[in-house]
Symmetry: C3
Subunit: 430 residues, 3 copies
């Protein structure tokens, strides 16, 4: 439960807000590389942290992320011609490079003082892990890109996509840190005498352990760029079924499902504004290329993590159509009547409201990671407002982390489980 | 004509408003029983007096009307599973009974203090006359259900439906109390040399009397739960054609059309919010079952009172499509060019604005019932705000009333007409 | 560049605003005559300068423009019956003539004091040039209709239409006064080795001169009803290619394209509100009837000036569908990838914002007409607010003006060019 004021601090990310400024100390994905496939190709509208922007890939392959309004008379550069070395306004031909400099003004006489003096807002960009990243903060504070593992691997070893979610970023993010809900939201209908949900990658045993223990025991360990949380459920024969989740500042997480040998899954939340958020979603295998079959299944929303998306990366089952809930399916076959793990998550999260009201909750022991997340984020945002620069932003290398599931003796501590499963108490890849 | 302030008092029904509190002293229909057809069936979203709610029918057949947000973390119970004895949140499995008590918290350890202590807002419900009713006021003030006649009869003797109207409740209600408009709005086109409107149940003579006397003489008699208004028009050969309408607090009325032996027609207005209103609509015959032919005609918007509705009880001809007005039809065959009495009423009422501006009117003698209605409602709402509990709410039995038409000698007083037609000066069924 | 305050003054035209009051000193088109084709035909909704209105053509052929709300209880007269001599409210039959007088009140007793005393707001109207004009200002200030040339000619000599544009009137108007943009916005793609744009009426030479000189030299000459602006570009062999544009207060312009012997083209901007504007568009030939081929081409959006419109005079390519921009077309064949000169203008203008922000511009020498227009309009609106009545409104005859293109020796002054091309230094038709 938060005060109304803290709730506001947590959810607002526009320019000048405490959380908005905090986000602007980190590199954030702004598009998939595939959305700007060709040099001198069509520009693209972006909306990020409440700002309207235009992105384009120039003749050299560099991506520009600029404000949309031409400095001359404000015509929108989205309609611009993406020509040799820059984006040209259709109204009077002013042309801008990826750094926002106006490099041609054909209706201004040669030699006029204005030449070389006009520029528009532009943000630095990088490409990493099939995503275009941008940095919205002060140049002198600009950190390195975070070394998320999928970006460090050959492209063949990862699959990257995104999907729109129509609610505030923070409670969507909370849904990823709350692994207790798996015992309900993603289950087959309780009365079905079996533990098969065709939408999950989990097998019969895991589903049974998940359902039969809705109160996992959580342990949280902070690290330099966030925290790792382990949830232990009773398994068979004196064993514990652990599900380990990473949270990395400001909005990355790694999912708890991957058993040894399986691919990992991660997410990055990037607010378009305070009422909608892009969830960048990636799967990777450190040791091998993903197969064509796996890729095809990811692309169709398979394995649960990826939603089934339509044009514009909007999930086919979404808030506007009640996720195509099937009440008969809900009664007899699945807990929600909604197809797809990602869509079930969206249903639960969206349903908390466009912006969740955290002043009226009744939190339980299984919400411990959510409480920790809020404390960390509020402390960091308020800290920055008070002059404390975020340390994590400068620790790019510490983002090479993993998370996933493990089946162990129920006598092991979380630290021991982490050493056994990942060779590190925090999940850090050496 | 009202002051701007009185207009606001009249039209606003949200929590804490004078009229909203006044409405909350009465039972009001919140759904048709057919909208919750089966036990443990799908829950239903409701919007009532500006409040968002969820309704469900439990295993015992009881209807719960609860706030939508789960007490745990606010997920919307509309998506919930309607299981044995309650509605279960899809996020972490909290379960609520029809009284809003949280009866299961599977992610809270057995024995924890929270068990049995958590509940959400729930309103008492009843079923009566094929409608689900709820009471939104303080429990200690809760009255009996009003004894509207259709609810006291066998189900075979009534037909009950509802329709959405996209304007404020109060000027829609006024349209029902203003029987002068029948001389225009519902007429065939004036130049047609005959008095036939295929959309009304009225015969040639009644239509002629209605058109030929656009200034009926009105008499109003107050009674314990509202008032009855009679409008007398000149008929043939020294006779008067009376149309008698009931208004029952806070938002019921009985229509003036039923001639002796014909079925009665009534309405209840229930605001979703201040910009839209459900009109619950019922026809009944005290002495016989309605025929299959009559039912089929009601269901298709026949007899004028019932609109032709589409999905969600939204009239097919409505504000968003200009009621499919046919200007050629308007020129040559009907006064409005719009099909259906109910739709013609909606057209006239909606056209007064989403919220009518009563500060600019020029009222006439034929608006006397409207003036009376406003005075009664404003007095009652302001009275309650000043501590005077509404007496009518406690007089459930006095709601057994009738109204309709009569053809009598033009020498009779309104009291004599009422005695002759209904055996009571107020239309009360003995 | 304007101050934020001046920007507001320029763009706001609702009742009581300085610019709104200034507009209300002039006759303005409110509909095409063809929108009210028949006497006693269906009424029409209008929106003008932020006011909701209803127009109808009465039995004598006069057009009424009245407020929509019936004086009785506010039912909307748009749904009214357009009967002998007036528009009748469908609710209780009150009837209004074109001057807003309530001429029948059938539910008010004959002889009652109310008869003859009730009226609603109505504006004087005229028809001229196939348009219905109305005057929204004080009656004692009412001027003559402006003598725009197309209205003075036989109907056969003109073609008149309109189109909706979804942005503020002022920066759309600015687009017409800024003839420098033709060197970009309406050009074929720069890399195409030829100067043919199938959407323009201009020939190869004119296109070449336009492209090759993006910095025309402008001269502005004020006259009694606005100003005329000439832009000279280098042509071949010591010649200059002049494009001359008229601005007439408050919102008329004549386009610079017509070469000697070609038809003229003009426009009038009329705000629906501050976020959308009707552009009345007309072509005329003073010396001959337009041919059927020309009319057919105008009607299909040909010759550039007229957009290709759908129902309700809404352009098929508009803000809601990104003007059906074709990026491949933009890359290889035309500067914008959007078909149609009018649509390219709309694209550029809309893209400046629903209301352009003039506080952030970098104006150049080629924006001189825009600067002049703003100064003139702001001065006039502020002047009226200070008590100075607009002189131009009273000079109807001075609106008989022409504009267009000319190919002359590059040694001539603008005045000499005007004398040679139009026989008058200001373009006034003698």
């Amino acid at each position: 439960m938060l005060s109304a004021n803290d709730n506001e601090v947590l959810v607002r990310t526009g320019p000048g807000t405490p959380m908005g400024e905090y986000f602007r100390r980190y590199w954030l994905p702004v598009a998939l590389s595939e959305e700007l496939p060709e040099r001198d190709g069509p520009p693209k509208r972006l909306r990020m942290l409440g700002e309207e922007l235009v992105a384009f890939r120039d003749t050299q392959g560099r991506v520009g992320v600029i404000e949309p309004a031409c400095a001359h008379r404000g015509a929108n550069l989205f309609y611009g011609r993406n020509e040799e070395g820059g984006l040209r306004c259709i109204y009077h031909g002013w042309k801008y490079d990826v750094e926002g400099r106006c490099i041609e003004m054909p209706n201004v006489p040669a030699g006029a003082a204005m030449h070389g003096k006009v520029s528009i807002k532009a943000y630095p960009t990088r490409e990493f892990g099939d995503m275009v990243w941008a940095y919205f903060g002060p140049r002198e504070k600009m950190p390195e890109l975070p070394h998320l593992e999928p970006g460090l691997l050959p492209a063949s070893h990862r699959f990257v996509s995104k999907r729109l979610q129509q609610c505030n970023w923070a409670h969507s993010m909370e849904g990823a840190l709350d692994t207790a809900h798996f015992s309900f939201l993603h289950m087959p209908a309780p009365k079905v005498g079996q533990y098969v949900n065709p939408d999950t990658g989990a097998d019969e045993k895991r589903l049974r352990w998940l359902r039969d223990d809705p109160m996992p025991q959580f342990t949280i360990v902070e690290h330099d760029v966030g925290f790792v949380v382990g949830g232990a459920r009773r398994a068979d024969d004196g064993q514990a079924y652990w599900r380990v989740t990473q949270f990395m500042l400001p909005t990355h997480s790694i999912a708890p499902s991957a058993m040894p040998g399986e691919f990992f899954q991660g997410y990055t939340w990037v607010p378009l504004d305070d009422e909608s958020v892009w969830i960048y979603t990636y799967a990777w295998h450190p040791d091998r290329a993903l197969t064509e079959t796996e890729r095809a299944k990811f692309a169709q929303g398979g394995f649960g993590q990826f939603a089934e998306i339509g044009p514009g990366y909007v999930p086919l089952r979404n808030r506007t159509n009640d996720y195509l809930i099937d009440r008969d399916e809900q009664k007899h076959r699945s807990f929600t009547g909604v197809r797809g793990i990602a869509e079930q998550d969206a249903l639960a999260q969206d349903s908390q409201g466009v912006i969740a009201d955290r002043t009226k909750e009744h939190l339980t022991a299984t919400d411990v990671a959510i409480v920790h997340f809020r404390r960390l984020m509020l402390g960091a945002a308020k800290g920055l407002a008070g002059g404390v620069e975020p340390a994590a932003a400068q620790r790019a290398a510490d983002y090479r982390l993993r998370a996933g599931g493990a089946l162990t003796s129920d006598q092991l501590s979380f630290g021991e489980v982490m050493m056994q499963r990942f060779g590190s108490e925090t999940g850090r890849v050496k």
